[in-house]
C-alpha cells in the first residue's frame, strides 16, 4: 500500500481514503517511479495510463488539495518547495486554487493564508516577494488577485490596487532612444505596462498579472488596464504567443513561451478581448500547439490555465497533466505548480 508522506493525520479523512484508493492501481507499475516513467510516454499513453491509475480529474484534484493543505507553512504561507520559506506568489496561487474548493472545510487554511498576506503588506500599499523583502514589486498583483476573493481584505485590496496603478514600467521619452528601441526590439517603448520591480522596464508577465489583479479589484475599465492590453498586443510574437516581452532582438525573432502566453491570454480574456481578434487567435493556436509538445508539469499546468478561459479544444491536456501528478498529490513537489495545476483543472 502506498503511503504518502503528506497523508493527512487529523482532518480530511474521506479525502485521504479516496486518495489511497485511487493510488492502489499504481502499484502494478511501481508507485515510486511512476511519475518519472510517465513523463517519457507519448500523449495517447498518458490518457490510457490515467484511466489505468484510476485517477480521474476528481480524485487527482483531491490529492492535490491534500498536498497543498499539508505543505502550508506554520506562518500561513507556501514556498516553492515543501518546507521552504514562504513567498507571496505560491501563497496567493495556493489560496486561489483552494478558494475554488467548495466541498472541503478550508476556512482555517484560507484564513491563515490571508493573514500571511495581510501581515506582510507594506505601508506603501504593495507587497515584496517574501517577508524578508522590504521593497514592493510584482507580487503585489498576486496578493491582490488572491485577496480579491477572501473575506475581510477590502482595505488591503484597495491599497494594493492603488500601488499597482501608481507603478509603471520605465518608458523612453527621448525620440532618438525610442527610435533605436523600435529598431532593435520592434516595440513601442511609450506604452505603459508593469515592471517586475519599480524602476525597471515593463514585461509581459507582470503586466498581465497586474491587469488580472486590477480587474479582480474592480478596475476593469481603468485606462491602465486598457493600455496594458495594448502593451500585450505590441509585445506579441509575430508567429503567435508571447515571451518575456522581447518579440524581436537585433534581427532575430525570439520564440514565444508557454508561461508568458498563458498569463497574457488570461489577462486579455479578463479584459474582454474577443477570441476572433487575429493576434489572439494565433496566440491560442500557438499555445495549443506548444502544449501538445510540452511534457513538464509546469508547462502543462500553465498551458491549461491559459487556455481554460477560452472555449477551445484542449484535447488530452488534462489527462497528460494528471498523469504527471506525483504520489504525494503534488506536481513536481512544488506547491506553486500544484496550485496552478489545481486552479487550471478547476477553470
Amino acid at each position: 500500500m502506498f503511503c504518502s508522506p503528506f497523508a493527512p493525520s487529523g482532518f480530511g479523512a474521506s479525502i485521504a481514503n479516496s486518495k489511497i484508493l485511487s493510488i492502489d492501481a499504481l502499484s502494478v507499475v511501481g508507485a515510486k517511479h511512476f511519475a518519472q516513467f510517465s513523463e517519457m510516454l507519448r500523449p495517447y499513453d498518458y490518457f490510457l495510463l490515467t484511466i489505468a491509475r484510476g485517477r480521474g480529474t476528481l480524485p487527482a484534484m483531491n490529492t492535490a488539495r491534500d498536498f497543498l493543505l499539508h505543505a502550508q507553512n506554520a506562518d500561513g504561507g507556501w514556498g516553492y518547495r515543501v518546507g521552504a520559506m514562504s513567498f507571496v506568489e505560491p501563497t496567493a496561487a495556493a489560496l486561489i486554487a483552494l478558494q475554488n474548493e467548495k466541498t472541503f472545510a478550508l476556512s482555517g487554511v484560507e484564513e491563515r493564508a490571508r493573514d500571511f498576506l495581510i501581515a506582510h503588506h507594506h505601508a506603501d500599499g504593495g507587497w515584496g516577494i517574501a517577508p524578508l523583502d522590504a521593497e514592493s514589486g510584482w507580487m503585489t498583483a498576486w496578493a491582490v488577485l488572491a485577496l480579491a476573493r477572501a473575506a475581510n481584505a477590502s482595505a488591503a485590496i484597495t491599497r494594493g490596487a492603488q500601488w499597482l496603478l501608481a507603478t509603471e514600467g520605465l518608458r523612453l521619452t527621448d525620440p532618438g532612444a525610442r527610435a533605436t528601441t523600435r529598431q532593435i526590439y520592434q516595440i513601442d517603448s511609450t506604452l505603459r505596462g508593469w515592471p517586475w520591480q519599480p524602476g525597471d522596464a515593463a514585461w509581459v508577465h507582470p503586466t498581465a498579472l497586474a491587469m488580472l489583479a486590477l480587474i479582480a479589484a474592480g478596475q476593469r475599465e481603468h485606462t491602465r488596464v486598457r493600455e496594458g492590453a495594448h502593451y500585450l498586443f505590441d509585445r506579441a510574437v509575430a508567429t503567435g504567443g508571447w515571451n518575456i516581452g522581447n518579440p524581436w532582438m537585433i534581427g532575430k525573432a525570439i520564440p514565444a513561451t508557454i508561461h508568458d502566453t498563458a498569463i497574457a491570454l488570461r489577462a486579455l480574456h479578463a479584459v474582454g478581448v474577443a477570441a476572433n481578434e487575429p493576434r489572439l487567435a494565433t496566440a491560442l493556436e500557438f499555445l495549443r500547439d506548444a502544449a501538445t509538445r510540452a511534457h513538464t508539469a509546469s508547462e502543462l499546468a500553465w498551458a491549461m490555465w491559459g487556455l481554460g478561459d477560452w472555449s477551445v479544444e484542449i484535447g488530452d491536456l488534462r489527462a497528460r497533466l494528471n498523469a504527471l501528478q506525483n504520489e504525494d498529490g503534488s506536481w513536481q513537489g512544488n506547491p506553486f505548480t500544484t496550485a496552478i495545476a489545481l486552479a487550471s483543472n478547476n477553470s
Binding site: 516553492y80 524602476g199 522596464a201 508561461h259 513538464t296
Partner: protein, 352 residues
C-alpha cells in the same frame, strides 16, 4: 596725453602685477580641474572613486599573478575528465575535500539548433572530478533568464538524464530560498542583493559557462554566467534590474560580493560565435579553462576568441577597481599554450 596713458598703465600695474595674475590664473585652473573632477565623479563621490583607484593600482602593482590553466579537449566524446583533472591541478583550484560544492552551468535557454548551454558532459566530468577530490555534497544549479520553467530546459539539453544517472540534485536558483547579500563594492545604487541560499551555503562555487560571444558584453564566460545566481522571483525574467543598473558595474559587484569561494571551469570545447548569447553558431575551440580569478579566466577566454580584454567594459572596469587581473603580465598561464586554441570568433551584431 602721453602722461595720462602712462598714469593709467601704472594704475593697472599697481592693481594686478604679472605675478599676481599668474597666481590667480593658476588658482582658477586648479579650481576648474577640481570642479571637473568633482562633477565627473559626482555619481559615486570623489572619496569612493579615489579608493577604487588606489585599490586598482595597488592590485596592479603588488597583487600576485592569477593562475589560469588551459587544457586541450577536442570533443565531447574525448576524455573530458582527464583534461579537467589536469587543468584543475594546474590552476591550483580549491581543495574540494569534504566540501559542499555548487556547479553552475550556463542553461540560459534552449533553442533547437543553437549551442547556447554548457554541455552536460562537461558538467558530468566536473561531478566525477569533485567526487574524486572528496566533495561531500555536489549540487548542480542555475536560474534560467528567459523561461520560468527550468525543467523544460534541463530535459531538452540532456541534463535531466545526466543528473538522474549521476544521482545529483538540481536546484532552480530562480525559486530557491533567499539570503540578502550586502554589496561591498558600492558600484551600483543597490545596497544589497538577494541571492539563492544554495549559493550562499556552498563551500565552493564553480562557474561553468559556455564560451560564447554576447551582443551586450562582447563575450559571455565565467562572470556573465553569474547572472544565473540572481533569483528571477525577485529580479524577474530576464533579470532586467541588473541590466538597468549597468552590466559592467553590476558584474563587478557580483564577483566581488559573492559570499562563496568561487572558481571557473569554462566549456570551450565547442564555443558559440556570432549572434550570441542565443543565436550564434557552433565553433570548435577544443579547450577547457580553469582558474580561481574569474576575471583572469575571462580575460584569457577573450584572448582565445580574439577579443581585447581592455576593450571589454566589464573586464576593464572590474580590473580598474582591482577585483581581478586582466593584463597578460598579471596572469600566469599554465597547461597547454593559448596559441594552440586561439581563434577569432565572429563578432556578435551590435545595435546601431
Amino acid at each position: 596725453m602721453r602722461d595720462q596713458i602712462r598714469n593709467q598703465k601704472s594704475k593697472i600695474e599697481n592693481k594686478i602685477s604679472r605675478r599676481a595674475f599668474l597666481r590667480l590664473a593658476l588658482l582658477a585652473a586648479i579650481g576648474a580641474v577640481g570642479a571637473y573632477i568633482f562633477k565627473s565623479t559626482e555619481p559615486v563621490g570623489l572619496g569612493k572613486m579615489l579608493r577604487w583607484l588606489w585599490r586598482g593600482q595597488t592590485a596592479r602593482w603588488f597583487a600576485p599573478k592569477s593562475r589560469v590553466a588551459l587544457a586541450a579537449c577536442e570533443s565531447y566524446d574525448a576524455n573530458i575528465l582527464a583534461a579537467l583533472r589536469r587543468a584543475w591541478r594546474d590552476a591550483r583550484a580549491p581543495d574540494l575535500n569534504n566540501a559542499r560544492i555548487v556547479l553552475k552551468p550556463n542553461l540560459v535557454d534552449f533553442i533547437a539548433g543553437y549551442p547556447t548551454f554548457t554541455h552536460p558532459r562537461v558538467t558530468q566530468a566536473m561531478i566525477h572530478l569533485a567526487r574524486e577530490l572528496g566533495a561531500r555534497d555536489i549540487i548542480v544549479a542555475d536560474g534560467p533568464a528567459f523561461r520560468r520553467d527550468a525543467r523544460a530546459i534541463l530535459d531538452a539539453t540532456g541534463y535531466t538524464e545526466m543528473l538522474a544517472r549521476e544521482k545529483i540534485a538540481f536546484v532552480d536558483l530562480n525559486y530557491d530560498d533567499l539570503v540578502a547579500v550586502p554589496l561591498v563594492g558600492g558600484y551600483t545604487r543597490l545596497k544589497s542583493l538577494f541571492i539563492a541560499r544554495t549559493i550562499a551555503d556552498a563551500d565552493v562555487f564553480v562557474s561553468m559557462p559556455k564560451l560564447k560571444t554576447h551582443h551586450w558584453t562582447q563575450m559571455s564566460a565565467s562572470v556573465k554566467n553569474l547572472f544565473g545566481i540572481v533569483p528571477g522571483i525577485k529580479y524577474g525574467w530576464p533579470k532586467n534590474t541588473l541590466h538597468t543598473t549597468g552590466i559592467p558595474v553590476f558584474l563587478t559587484e557580483l564577483v566581488e560580493s559573492l559570499p562563496t569561494r568561487a572558481c571557473a571551469a569554462v566549456d570551450g570545447i565547442v564555443g558559440l560565435e556570432g549572434d550570441g548569447p542565443i543565436f550564434g553558431s557552433a565553433v570548435p575551440s577544443g579547450v577547457l579553462a580553469v582558474g580561481t580569478d574569474l576575471l583572469a579566466v575571462d580575460a584569457t577566454c577573450a584572448r582565445l576568441i580574439g577579443l581585447d580584454p581592455a576593450r571589454m567594459d566589464y573586464l576593464d572596469f572590474a580590473s580598474w577597481v582591482g577585483v581581478g587581473a586582466i593584463v597578460e603580465s598579471k596572469i600566469e598561464l599554465v597547461g597547454d599554450a593559448l596559441a594552440q586554441f586561439a581563434r577569432a570568433y565572429e563578432r556578435p551584431p551590435r545595435p546601431e
